[in-house]
Symmetry: none
Subunit: 218 residues, 2 copies
Amino acid sequence: MLTPKQYKLLMFINKTTKETGCCPSFDEMKDAVGLKSKSGIYALIEALVERNFLRKLPHKARALEVVRLPKLKPSAVIAEEKKKEDALLNAMVEIPLYGYIAAGTPIEAIANENDKFSVPYEMVRGGQYYALKVEGDSMEGIGILNGDTVIIKKADTAQNGDIVVALVDNCEATLKQIKKEGPEVLLIPKNDSYEVRRLPASRVKVQGILSSLVRSYH
Amino acid sequence: MLTPKQYKLLMFINKTTKETGCCPSFDEMKDAVGLKSKSGIYALIEALVERNFLRKLPHKARALEVVRLPKLKPSAVIAEEKKKEDALLNAMVEIPLYGYIAAGTPIEAIANENDKFSVPYEMVRGGQYYALKVEGDSMEGIGILNGDTVIIKKADTAQNGDIVVALVDNCEATLKQIKKEGPEVLLIPKNDSYEVRRLPASRVKVQGILSSLVRSYH
DNA sequence: TATTTTTGTTCTACTTTAGTTCTTTTTTGG
DNA sequence: CCAAAAAAGAACTAAAGTAGAACAAAAATA
């Protein structure tokens, strides 16, 4: 029957003519099929014409017509589609993106947004996670920059030295390193321009522990 | 099938004959399609007749007949399919993880590994990408730490100020900010303990541009 | 019917887009 | 490792698109 490339091309031609009413050009086809040169498209089309899946007017632009479609998919195409589906089901996980973390609002107050952030499944295995955009430079010293997205594992306790989302007085959420000292808690920024805050433990609530970080350039 | 102009004209002819009961003149068509001369319309009509979408009585005014129209998918179906595609856009894709970038080996020498790294599709749309583990602290100043994974877009040229994977003398690959100064290239680390390297452009090959960064905190 | 107006046809010239052909390079499978 | 197939790339040729003008045939109308 057809080779995977032939199949892919035929389906593409069929799809675009049915959707737009006009036939794609060789250049458009080469992009769709993933080739870098039109000459490959030419060969594929010759093959499809020979096998009577296409009809063409030679030397005319965009003058192809689909005669028939194959009843069988090449197994390589089936495999590829299955792989994509698996990727869809397994690898992708969406976690809520709660907005910016800075001074001000506690996380849960803005938890009703439905922004989502997609992360690899491995990054959020075993636990509940959410994402936050970092605002400000108070953690610059350990490579957490303004605009980064941090992925936080929900937790209400943390170990000394963990980077946590800490809610102070039920109204202000920040990302800081935490350290317990007896009845008090230290919230330690990682930037010399900021002061360590020392608070009674009762005023600080841990809302999660930093699990990973994603940054986009440009 | 048809070229975009042919399609547009055919649809116009079909629409106006259905609405007004008579066929538009060449002048009306040229205005509708956006041409300044009737001769183009003539050519388009000849093509449509050849492809058996129109029938005409030669030398008669307004004597065209639409034989058939390209059969399109209902737009509802197209919308449905687009939705499915969007779902795939949210899927994860795997890109090759080429190992550590530091001093020593060029990237391509270790490209035969089959480690993979999963990232959201949005992060790697339009281009070829690969992932590298960062080794060393030479870029600490802009928040790129030892052990981070960087996602690199393949490219062989870069703009001043881009963070790039640079291959020096075909044997040593590093992640640095790049700056061109006439015949020379500066490779700028972001850590005061490291020196800027100034090299003739011929010794430096760009292998990719930093696109995003992922960090895991155990 | 004669005349005017509308409309279609033809031609030339030029630019852009698209298809074809061929050679070289890369990839693949035995 | 080699041969065959696939792909890339460049060069080339043809068609499509654009415009303008001139003209011929048909339609309108006086």
